[in-house]
Structure formats: structure tokens, C-alpha cells
Amino acid sequence: MTNLLEFKDVDVHYGPIQALKKVSLEVKEGEIATMIGSNGAGKSTLLMSIFGQPRISGGQIIYRGEDISQKSAHYVASNGLAQSPEGRRIFPSMSVEENLLMGTIPIGMEHCDEDMQHMFELFPRLKERRNQRASTMSGGEQQMLAIARALMSRPKLLLLDEPSLGLAPIIVKQIFKILEDVASTGMTIFLVEQNANHALKLADRGYVMVNGEIRLTGTGEELLVNPEVREAYLGGH
């Protein structure tokens, strides 16, 4: 399988603080890769650096053979990368439908109706609330909206930043079930999570990030049984 996305020795600095240290990883076409790490490990920084926010201070980010580390965010988005970011960042004063429409910017309105119907099938809650202002929805619904919005651009690579954050276990389960369905259509997913249990069960391969460095890497199953991972993320069970 070819690499869709590859980080080569990427450094990111916030002023004097180094948030990512020589991070190298790859996401292969058609797989689900995951990155687990605790708060402040640099997971969100890693995802946002793909869109140049912040710009990396060293190394390369290669997407489909092209170094995109100095490209503008809208250029990256127009080339098949979509993100459901940290904090969901849905547009609060827009309706659910309008939020979904925002996802179509990179590909235009051609498949809009069809895709929106598809999203409503994946997330029936969104259909019930299609004309409601996004800010009035619950956290779980907002998370679904953020994922659906990202899917509306028919991305080649879907980037997800902690879709389980702050949600009830039952909702987390639903969301991971939907991600599994989405992945089964062949979409490549790169999932960043603290919820190691769910993420590693879903993923083909995983990375563990500690303090801005990749500490461990392996298949999902390998990491799930790794004593270090169990100790740090799975509560030693």
C-alpha cells in the first residue's frame, strides 16, 4: 500500500516550547491509523500542522507525494483532506444543513443532495435537527455534525481529532460504529484519540505519542496488549 500521508522528522515550536519533536509517521491508503496520547502530548498540534496552523519548523509533511508543509490551509483542504477538529468547531449560528453545506466547498455542489441524504442516514439525529441552529445541539450531536461536515467533501483522508471527547459512553460507541462503517467504504482515516481502547480496536495501526514524540508504534492489537499502553491509557485492566 502506498503512503497517503507521511510525516518526516517534523518539528513544531510554539515560541520557545517545542510541541512536536522529530515526528515521523505514515498513513497508508485505505487503512485506519490512530495516534493515542494524553492531554498536551501534541496530538491536535500534529493534525493542525497538516493545514499549516501552526507551520512546522522542521521536516516535511508529504501528502500524495507532494510536500504540503508550506501550503495554505485552503489548498490542502481542496486536495482531499478533511478534518473534524479539536473542539468540533461547528459554525454555531448556522443551521445543521448550512454547516453540512460548508463541507462541500472543496468539491462544489454536484453531489450535495445525495451526500446530505447519506449523512442523514448515517446520523439520523442530524436529520431531525436539520434546520436547528448548530449551537443549540448537544455535544454528541455537534460531534456528529463535525464528522458529517468533514465527510461532505468526500475526502481521500479523513482526520479526526478526539471524536469521543466529553461524550457519554453510549454516544462514543455509536460514533465509533459509524466510523467503522465509513472505513468499510475504503476511506482512509487518521484518528487521534485519548480513548485508547476504542481507537486501537478500530485501527489497523497505531502510534503512541508522549510529550511530542512518538514513543511506540505497532498494529492495533499489538498496542492493545502492550503493558506500557495498558498502564498509561487503559487503567491497567
Binding site: A73, H74, A77, P92, S93, M102
Partner: protein, 303 residues
């Protein structure tokens, strides 16, 4: 009674024009959080462009009112829009990541540059345009009468049409959605593939175009203008934007109409010398009770 009605009509006309100019303040504030102090001077430039357009059209022998008015509107709106685009490009975009104060000072600088540039290129004397549309409708009310000039009717029609079209564009079109997305979360908008710099440029062009519409209408009605007209009307429109809730598009229109009406009623019934005192007092009072303006949303810190 007739005075009240007459002043209501006058106030509504004036207010709709304030609203048009206030749109430029409120949209720019909404999208990049700055007060564009050069906006009043963009309006002033459009007054001169109006006179130039009328002179050109008359020179080429086009004298019928519809041709002159549409020719003037198109020319002035396009050229003023270009001014808006250039101003953002040279004075604000290079400071995109600097502090708000730097941009504010740049805006004041831009305002002075525009005033002096027009003063040097067009002369400091007051200029004028001929009256194009004469005549009025009269209604008898009690002992007196209310008179609405055709020009005032045209202003009302054009101003509300302009606001209606803009509201439609912002609410229903793709460009409008992209503007709102950029206003609500610029970083997320760029991650979704929106070229936010281009959207910010469009907002400046839209604001300038609305000011140009106001400029054509007021210039045709009053006839006279000089290089300093942008200052006071700019302050008034800014007041209207704050009154309605800066950042809110319907707020700007509502604020403009309220300001125009209250100013006209105060001038007609109490004293025209103190009408500005009244309108600014109104602003102070509203801000005491509603610090974010009539339709503005209180700023919520993002968590």
C-alpha cells in the same frame, strides 16, 4: 401632526442611507474585528465619483434620468468597490497578524490619505452636481401637508432594495455562507477549503459598494459635497452600527433607521441645532442598558 409625518419620511430616508454605510462598518468588524475608520472617506470618494460619472455621461450626450442614474450607480459602485479592495490590500492585509491597535492606526492613516488625495486632486472647494430629479408628491394632512420628493422616494426604494439584495446574498448564497463561516470561525473556514483572505477582500468590496450606493443617493439629493463629508456621516453610520450591535447585519440596518428617525424627529419637534447631541445621547443610553447593541450578541469567550 404634519411635521411629525414629514419628519418621519425624512428620517426614514436619512436612516436608510445611514444603514447602508453602517453595513460596511459592521461587516468588516464582524469578519476581522477592526473598525475601518477609512470607511467614511470611501463614502466621500463615491460622492466625487458620482459627480464624475454624471459629468461624463452628460458629456457624451446621455441626459435621460434612467440612463444617468443607472450609469452613475454602476460606475460609482464598481470604482468604489475597487477602492475598498485596494485599501484592504495595502493598508490592512499586511497587518493581519499584528495587534488590533496597529490596524486601527493604519485605518486612521488611510482616512487621512484619502481626504488629502481627494483634496489635492479635486480641489478643496465645495463641489456640486445638478438636480436630476425634480417634483414631489403632496399629501394634505389636517391644516398642513406632507411633501415627499421623488428623489426621496427613489432613495428609499434604492436603499431598501440594496439592503434586501445584500441580505439575500448573505443568507442564501454560497458567497454569503462563506462570509458567515469566516466571521464565525476563520481558522475552521480555512480548513474547510475557504480562501479566507479572498472572503475578507469581498467583504471590503461589499462594504464599499454599499457606501457607494449611499454616496450616489445622498449626493444626488443634497447636490453639494466636499472632501470632508465622509467624516460626520461616517461617525453617524458608525454610531448606527454600534447602536444596532456591531457585527450584526440586520443590526446595522435597524440602527441606521432608528438613528435617522430619532434625529429627524428631534430636529423637527425640538431643535435642529442639537439633533447630533440627541442622537449620540441615544447611543449612550442604549449602550448603558444593552452594551452589545440592540441586535448584537454579547461576546462570549471561546473555551
Amino acid at each position: 401632526m404634519d411635521i411629525v409625518l414629514q419628519q418621519l419620511v425624512n428620517g426614514l430616508t436619512l436612516g436608510s442611507v445611514y444603514g447602508l454605510i453602517a453595513i460596511g462598518y459592521t461587516m468588516v468588524y464582524g469578519i476581522i474585528g477592526m473598525i475601518n475608520f477609512a470607511h467614511g472617506d470611501v463614502y466621500m470618494v463615491s460622492s466625487y465619483l458620482t459627480a464624475i460619472a454624471i459629468a461624463l455621461l452628460t458629456f457624451f450626450g446621455m441626459e435621460s434620468f434612467p440612463i444617468i442614474i443607472f450609469g452613475t450607480l454602476i460606475f460609482t459602485i464598481v470604482v468604489t468597490g475597487a477602492y475598498g479592495w485596494v485599501i484592504e490590500r495595502v493598508a490592512y492585509r499586511p497587518l493581519r497578524n499584528s495587534s488590533r491597535l496597529s490596524v486601527l492606526i493604519s485605518a486612521i492613516g488611510m482616512s487621512l490619505i484619502l481626504q488629502n488625495y481627494v483634496q489635492i486632486s479635486q480641489g478643496a472647494r465645495q463641489q456640486g452636481v445638478p438636480t436630476l430629479l425634480t417634483g414631489a408628491i403632496r399629501f394634505d394632512v389636517g391644516d398642513g401637508f406632507v411633501q415627499i420628493t421623488y428623489m426621496k422616494l427613489f432613495i428609499l426604494f434604492a436603499a431598501f432594495l440594496g439592503m434586501g439584495v445584500l441580505t439575500y446574498v448573505i443568507q442564501k448564497t454560497k458567497l454569503g455562507r462563506m462570509c458567515r463561516a469566516t466571521q464565525q470561525d476563520r481558522k475552521m473556514a480555512s480548513i474547510l477549503g475557504i480562501n479566507t483572505d479572498r472572503i475578507i477582500s469581498s467583504v471590503f468590496v461589499i462594504g464599499a459598494a454599499m457606501a457607494a450606493l449611499a454616496g450616489v443617493l445622498i449626493t444626488l439629493d443634497y447636490g453639494a459635497f466636499d472632501f470632508y463629508v465622509g467624516f460626520i456621516i461616517g461617525i453617524k453610520a458608525f454610531t448606527a452600527a454600534v447602536l444596532g450591535g456591531i457585527g450584526s447585519l440586520p443590526g446595522a440596518m435597524l440602527g441606521g433607521v432608528i438613528l435617522g428617525l430619532s434625529e429627524a424627529l428631534f430636529a423637527g419637534l425640538i431643535s435642529s441645532d442639537y439633533k447630533d447631541v440627541f442622537s449620540f445621547s441615544l447611543l449612550v443610553i442604549i449602550l448603558i442598558f444593552r452594551p452589545s447593541g440592540l441586535l448584537g450578541k454579547p461576546e462570549v469567550e471561546k473555551v
